[in-house]
């Protein structure tokens, strides 16, 4: 009997912990054991809600180039570019990930301006080599990773403005905006909103960007018309860029090659600016500003105190500017924020109603064992909710449905045990031996009968890895967690509760057989 009380303590502590974790809004805790004001142990938990619940945009992009024209690294860099721009919009909750070797999945939760988001995402990278003659090294150090305004960006912005005006004109003339709309959604013309201008228009709160640098200094708010820096060459002029280790010095450097057209511009410019810095700017942001050592008509090396990672990163950024991967939208979904919220509230309400019916049924049909099963079911529910926050499992509507169905089937294990128990009692066994037999014999049935559904969950999970069927994964995960957890709660937790209850009043129960539901 004693070890059942020990189990009871364990179950109660576990349930209390799970209950604490699953309190809505609880984000975990940190513990400072040695009072040095540095947390020694931090437990972070959070609710991860799917886009179909919070609302937002989900865009699946496909690289619009033959698969042999780019590598996975190039695609990763394209994804990094998308990520940087999306963060520039102030959407810090966004997730951007590669899907296979040809696709990028972008998820933008919350209320998002769709047109702006599409433009930002589909924009290809703009790489510029910019004349930085006369800029001192301290300014360069301050502006690394900060916006710099250039002639090329200004040109692109003007072109965009013209396109917008033309669209307005067409709309007025024809009453429809189709042609111009097409021009606007064309990836190349969409690409014309540069980060340089985005950075000023959309400076997000919390992201500390300096005002863009111009020839005359940082651009003030009223400082329109300040001369931008001269763009010498864009990424089009670059044909290759790789990170290498210099065999003599052992230093990491980036070797780049130019196209013929690029060389025609780059050679004379570098020749007449030896000793001056030249800025490398990606999407309006200053990456680095090496000093020109020599005339470079066909290519050259960029050296500096690069670590291996930095050199590879810069080479990749140069390549992504040289080989901009156009991205086309392959699937798109947009969920209104209130719609998902309503559906969740309805699902939760349905879940509560369903659980109450199940609890009532078990109590009336199985009496005292039913009470133990009900307590175990409540433990099962809080354990599930805690696991969803601990892993965390992204909760979508199908995921919530999978969880609810797992509640419906969770009592199956208990039913198997209790039916056995009744049989053993009918065969004339005493209460305690009947209980032992019920739990012993039902275990293999419980295990076997759950296996087929767990296998199916595995197959469904893999099916859900297909970009177009991702909604399935959530259902498979929560149902599988529920089934596995149920093996624990249906047997161990129910047994603990039942033995403790029976231990407290075994005579009373043995005298009143109806309490056992027989």
């Amino acid at each position: 009997m004693k070890h059942h009380y020990r189990w009871l303590v364990f179950v109660v502590i576990l349930a209390a912990f799970a209950l604490w974790v699953s309190i809505p809004g609880n984000e975990g805790a940190s513990f400072d054991f040695n009072n040095d004001d540095e947390p020694d142990f931090t437990l972070t938990v959070y609710e991860s809600l799917g886009l179909d619940i919070i609302g937002g945009l989900r865009v699946l992009l496909r690289a619009d180039l033959p698969t042999d024209a780019y590598t996975r690294d190039d695609l990763q860099e394209a994804a990094n570019n998308v990520s940087r721009r999306v963060n520039g919009l102030g959407l810090s909750e966004a997730t951007i990930q590669l899907q296979g070797d040809t696709r990028i999945l972008v998820e933008l939760p919350g209320v998002v301006d769709e047109v702006q988001a599409r433009q930002t995402i589909q924009q290809t990278a703009l790489l510029e080599f910019v004349n930085f003659a006369g800029i001192d090294s301290s300014t360069i150090a301050t502006y690394e990773g900060q916006p710099v305004l250039t002639t090329e960006q200004t040109r692109i912005e003007e072109q965009r403005q013209r396109a917008l005006e033309e669209q307005g004109a067409t709309e007025e003339a024809t009453g429809e905006g189709e042609e111009a709309t097409e021009a606007l959604t064309d990836p190349t013309s969409v690409a014309l909103t540069t980060i340089g201008t985005l950075a000023t228009q959309l400076m997000p709160e919390g992201v500390n960007l300096l005002p863009p640098l111009t020839r005359a200094g940082p651009l003030q708010e009223d400082g329109e018309g300040q001369p931008p820096f001269e763009t010498v060459m864009t990424g089009d002029g670059l044909s290759a860029a790789v990170a290498e280790r210099d065999p003599t010095s052992g230093q990491w450097l980036i070797r780049f090659e130019l196209t013929d057209e690029g060389g025609d511009v780059f050679g004379p410019f570098t020749g007449s600016n030896v000793g001056q810095p030249m800025a490398i700017i990606l999407d309006g942001i200053l990456l680095s500003a090496p000093t020109i050592q020599d005339a470079l008509p066909t290519g050259g090396v960029i050296s500096g105190q690069f670590t291996e990672d930095e050199a590879k990163q810069l080479a990749l950024q140069l390549r992504s500017g040289a080989l901009p991967i156009p991205l086309s939208v392959e699937s798109f979904s947009r969920v209104g924020a209130t719609l998902g919220q309503e559906s969740v509230e309805l699902s939760i309400r349905a879940g509560i109603v369903g659980v109450i019916i199940v609890l009532t049924f078990m109590l009336f049909y199985y009496r005292v064992p039913g009470l133990a099963a009900d307590l175990a079911l409540l433990v099962f529910i809080v354990l599930n909710l805690a696991i969803f926050k601990l892993i965390p499992v992204t909760l979508t509507l199908p995921a919530i449905t999978g969880f609810l169905i797992s509640i419906g089937t969770a009592v199956d294990g208990n039913i198997l045990i209790f039916e056995r128990l009744k049989e053993e009692l009918r065969d004339g066994k005493d209460l305690r031996p009947a209980l032992d037999a019920g739990f012993d014999r039902a275990w293999t049935s419980i295990r076997d009968s759950n296996i087929s559904t767990i296998i199916i969950c595995g197959i469904l999970f893999f099916f859900g890895q297909t970009p177009g069927a991702s909604i399935v994964s959530g259902f498979a995960i929560t149902l599988a967690i529920g089934l596995v957890l149920n093996l624990f709660t249906a047997v161990l937790v129910t047994r603990t509760f039942l033995y403790v209850i029976v231990g407290l009043g075994s005579d009373a129960i043995a005298e009143r057989k109806w309490l056992l539901g027989t």
């Binding site: 309503e342 199940v358 609810l404 199956d412 039916e419 559904t453 197959i459 099916f463 297909t466 399935v472």
Partner: protein, 318 residues
């Protein structure tokens, strides 16, 4: 005790009628619409716009005009909910680069749109093909793995192929019933098959096998315990012994599902409806298809299939 297995011809007849109706519905749907059931955008590619208007004014005609003006020739337009919900579902084609904002702006010429309550899905044909391929692969994998599981579960039974095939027959029965139901819902309500439908079907497969295994397990256990009893009596006893468990378990799953059907949002209702029908069929088929089939087989009543000499010779009643 009521002798269940004696009436097995009735069960076969009921199932036969249900299966004939299911297959008939799929054939009817194929003849009238070209597909056994309506394939959704997940598999075919295309766009679904669920639009919430804030006031009256929208009808099939003016929505069609808007879509035609955007270059979508043949949209399928349906009202969602009742007339005062102002909610519409429009199935259109997939146009690369067409932002849904354009579509919403165009629809605003009819009536104001509640942008917070729209639900839009656009899927290209390529993605649809990939989902279809993955779906076929999932079905194939499920068939192989479940068959393998049944073989392992019955490895200690002398005639395991027999048990396994009866469980598979019950599973195929359930899948066909679900498909027939979906063909019917497609014809009546315009419901479409999506990735979640396949999920429901495979979940039904999992539960169906689970049910059959519990009954077969008991038969296996009872045969050595009751030597000398007629086979049908042993089977009947096994069914009665497990029927409480089967019904109580299914009942609890149904409680949850009915609650979702009645009170849940409409997003997962089709999914739950399919799952519900599948589980209903699964409960029936484990007792009234898998088991009677096994009895008939053992007694040599099935054409072309040999029975068990010993069982076939035994009297029908004790």
């Amino acid at each position: 005790m009521f002798n269940l297995m004696e009436k097995r011809r009735w069960y076969f007849m009921i199932s036969g009628v249900a299966l004939t109706i299911s297959i008939g519905l799929m054939i009817y749907s194929t003849v009238t619409t070209g597909q056994p059931f309506r394939l959704g955008v997940d598999f075919q590619g295309g766009s679904i716009y669920e639009i919430q208007f804030e006031e009256a004014g929208a009808n099939e005609e003016n929505i069609r005009e808007v879509f035609n003006s955007l270059g979508d020739e043949n949209p399928i337009i349906q009202r969602l909910g009742d007339e005062n919900d102002y909610r519409w579902s429009i199935r259109g084609s997939f146009t690369e680069g067409q932002s849904s904002e354009e579509v919403i702006e165009a629809l605003e010429t009819i009536a104001p749109v509640a942008e917070d309550s729209v639900n839009i899905e656009q899927v290209s044909g390529t993605v649809g093909q990939e989902v279809t391929r993955a779906a076929l692969f999932a079905v194939l994998a499920a068939s192989i793995v479940i068959t393998g599981f049944i073989v392992i579960a019955f490895r200690t039974v002398p005639k395991r192929t027999r048990y396994g095939l009866c469980a598979i027959a019950a599973m195929v029965h359930d899948v066909l019933i679900v498909m027939g139901a979906m063909a019917l819902f497609g014809l009546i309500f315009g419901w479409e098959i999506d990735a979640l439908f396949l999920t429901a079907v495979l979940t039904v497969v999992g539960f169906s096998v689970q049910d059959s295994i519990v009954v077969f397990d008991r038969i296996r256990e009872n045969i050595p315990k009751h030597v000398g009893e007629p086979y049908e009596t042993i089977v009947d006893r096994s069914v009665w012994e497990t029927i409480h468990r089967s019904l109580a378990t299914q009942l609890n799953a149904f409680f949850i599902m009915i609650a979702i059907l009645l009170f849940g949002g409409d997003t997962v209702q089709q999914f739950i409806a399919v799952l519900f029908i599948g589980l209903l069929s699964g409960t029936y088929s484990s007792i009234f298809v898998a088991v009677p089939l096994l009895v008939s087989w053992e007694k040599g009543e099935l054409p072309l299939l040999e029975g068990d000499e010993h069982i076939a010779a035994s009297p029908a009643k004790a």
